[in-house]
Symmetry: C2
Subunit: 102 residues, 2 copies
Amino acid sequence: MYISMSRLRLPESHVADLLDAFKHRAGLVEDAEGFIDLEVWHSDRDPEEVVMVSRWETRDAFTQYMKSSDHQTSHNRISRALRLVIKLERLDHLHTYDVVAA
Amino acid sequence: MYISMSRLRLPESHVADLLDAFKHRAGLVEDAEGFIDLEVWHSDRDPEEVVMVSRWETRDAFTQYMKSSDHQTSHNRISRALRLVIKLERLDHLHTYDVVAA
């Protein structure tokens, strides 16, 4: 499994707008080949920090989606005002190990 | 949902030992009240970086487990040699937002 994790920083007053953008997203990623799920996490310690985690079957599935027009469409729906206040602090790409417990 | 995420740094030559410790773990966390799952991720960019992510129904479930003798037992099984080379770089506690797509 392949993980893309973006650590975002934005003013606390805009966190609700970001969540709103997610809730009203185009919903295109759900149909992408190899997409597993997407979660949005909010730091307990730092109210300006939001982590976006998407899980994919393979690295290829993720890179294909990133190059797709669906991704471009989804990204373009985010308002310019919101984009201006969001800072990508860190981007991680990781593979999962086969030691998952559930 | 509550997330505990530990970012670990260790020499690449010990990563296999760490995975081995996970694979042969006591398996106690699986029975903890409110435990959802545990994944281990390996950075694509930095071979010395391993991220351990556990998901819980609530923050309380996580803190109860951390205080339990089961957690102590599990932690004590990690060899001293391995503990000495693992550095906890960052520990995050986060809540999930209700915008999950799957």
